[in-house]
């Protein structure tokens, strides 16, 4: 039968990691995933590396990582879609298994964001937008999301307190995640009093650059059933893109790519938003998580602020969102982030999330965004290969 499942997961500690090179971070995650799967290295047919190459001094990063993991001579390639590289890599691995070309594929997301100097990173940061019409006026990542936030506040009455409530939640759960960069609780007052970045944002509205790696091993249905661990099935795989330039978007209160990718993923999986019990969403900024509630259909457009204010995305609410700390508290090693999301949801569906476990989680979702919404990938994951 057809179908692709996650059969092994591994995660390196996210954060400032001056102790390790990028391939050593990748090894940390891969070794854990391999042990989890119970496979020998020789059983892996191919590897897909997720990373954003311009942040590394090493070029051809896939080759270096592959060699260090000891996966020669199997094929390897890099998949890049900015901050959505992780989910894009999972998609290419899924495609290769669905096509019958490979049976078992390792996806390794890895990134060292602290390798370049602050000056070099600020230079790259100045070119995240459309350079012809926008970067020439000094735009930044936070500035784009700050402008989404301003528009959201204007149209729907969303408040700064509601946005900071997202950061408070994610730090609450991040404090309980041993892999997270920031393992401490914060308060609304602390977020409000913090240094400004781009109004209405303070530093607590923004996720932090981090080093890190995560790995999932995917397998065909036959191989997954013969595996050591209970398979977690990729039942809905949605992907879409939006214009690079905010000057060409139909609206700035959400990400059209996310709405489209979510609709595709739900249709493929045969589920509705209300069926999702646990989700990891791309909270690169607090408003991004509020827009994600709406883009994914967890609430109606404009109601995302009330959704967090009423604590609905906490464990015990209708859908638990970013209960691993999200990008905000876990840190954002961009190539690793999407893979980390799938690791977390697989653990939740296997019932292995410890104190952060969502009770009887059977259906989960990941939402991984590249750039300011140019790319979006949404996965529905399930304990069962098909939904009845």
């Amino acid at each position: 039968m057809k179908g692709v499942a996650v059969i092994g997961v591994g995660h390196a500690r996210f954060g400032r990691r001056p102790d390790a090179s990028v391939q050593e971070l990748a090894f940390e995650a891969f070794a854990e995933a391999l042990a989890d799967s119970g496979l020998e290295r020789g059983a892996i047919d191919a590897s897909v590396i997720a990373a954003v190459p311009e942040y590394h001094t090493q070029r051809s990063i896939a080759g270096v990582v592959q060699e260090y993991l000891g996966l020669l001579p199997q094929p390897t390639w890099l998949t890049e879609a900015a901050c959505a590289s992780g989910s894009a890599a999972i998609r290419t691995a899924w495609l290769s298994i669905q096509a019958g070309v490979h049976e078992v594929v390792a996806v390794v997301g890895c990134q060292k964001m602290t390798e370049l100097s602050t000056q070099e990173v600020l230079g790259l940061m100045g070119r995240v937008g459309d350079v012809q019409w926008e970067s020439c006026y000094g735009t930044t990542f936070p500035a784009y999301y700050a402008m989404f936030a301003r528009r959201h506040m204007h149209e729907f009455g969303t408040t700064r307190e509601q946005m900071w409530a997202v950061a408070v939640k994610n730090h609450h759960y991040g404090a309980q995640n041993p892999y997270a960069m920031f393992r401490k609780e914060i308060t609304l007052e602390k977020a409000a009093a913090a240094e400004g970045v781009a109004d209405p944002f303070t530093v607590y509205d923004c996720c932090a650059n981090a080093d890190g790696a995560a790995c999932v091993i995917l397998a065909s249905a036959d191989r997954a059933r013969a595996g050591r661990r209970p398979p977690v099935w990729l039942t809905g795989m949605g992907a879409a893109s939006s214009s690079m330039s905010v000057l060409r978007r139909p609206h700035l209160t959400g990400l059209p790519s996310a709405e489209q990718a979510a609709a595709e993923a739900y249709a493929m999986a045969g589920v509705r938003p209300a069926d999702v019990q646990v989700a990891d969403v791309h909270d690169c900024f607090t408003i991004a998580e509020i827009m994600a509630y709406e883009d994914l259909g967890f609430c109606a457009r404009g109601e995302g602020g009330a959704f967090i204010a009423e604590r609905k995305p906490y464990i015990g609410g209708p859908v638990a969102v970013n209960v691993d700390g999200g990008l905000k508290a876990k840190g954002h090693p961009i190539g690793a982030t999407g893979v980390s999301m799938t690791v977390e949801i697989a653990k939740q569906l296997r019932g292995e999330a410890g104190d952060r476990q969502v009770p009887d989680a059977r259906i989960g979702l990941t939402h991984n965004v590249g750039g300011i919404g140019q790319y979006c990938f949404v996965q529905v994951l399930s304990r069962e290969p098909v939904h009845q």
Partner: protein, 169 residues
């Protein structure tokens, strides 16, 4: 010369390069497709409606309404000396949007989403190289316009037609 456009240029070469020449002459230009007539702002050389590759510039009023805005505290490389600075996205009356800085005519506390604004071409004379930008100003702001190419050293910006080597659909 598109390298004139913006406070820092990342795009030296483009087929709509004369946009910056027009801006220097005091004119804000959209593009109009010579195949289907579709108008675009920001201007584009190649039509995304009908795939035609020839276009002409058409002047727009620069009037519009503020869509959203932010004040950047943490600036990228090359912009540190100006920080903090406020940027806005404006919905243009003739269609399309533009991103630009606010001029001195609009104070921070007067800024409100939805307010009517006027985009005004500005030549930045505090900088060593030529830089031309659009500035978000109050409605009714006026400025001087020049004949095309009246500035010394400015190439004559006409409509752009593909050269014979370029395929035309």
């Amino acid at each position: 010369m598109f390298k004139w456009y913006g406070r820092k240029s990342f795009t030296p070469a483009t087929r709509i390069g004369a946009f910056a020449d027009h801006l220097r002459d005091g004119r804000i230009m959209a593009s109009r497709c010579l195949g289907c007539g579709a108008q675009a702002f920001p201007p584009r050389a190649d039509c995304d409606v009908c795939m035609h590759r020839a276009f002409e510039f058409v002047e727009i009023s620069g009037r519009g309404h503020l869509h959203t805005h932010t004040r950047i505290e943490a600036a990228p490389t090359g912009f540190e000396a100006w920080a903090p600075y406020r940027i806005g996205v404006v919905d243009l009356e003739e269609g399309g949007r533009i991103l630009a800085w606010f001029g001195e005519g609009i104070s921070d506390d007067a800024i409100a989403i939805g307010m009517p604004v006027q985009l005004v071409p500005r030549i930045l004379d505090e900088m060593e190289d030529i830089h031309v930008v659009c500035s978000i100003e109050p409605p009714g702001t006026t400025w001087q316009k020049h004949e095309a190419g009246a500035h010394a050293g400015v190439s004559s910006p006409g409509e752009h037609r593909p050269t014979p080597e370029e395929p035309i659909r």
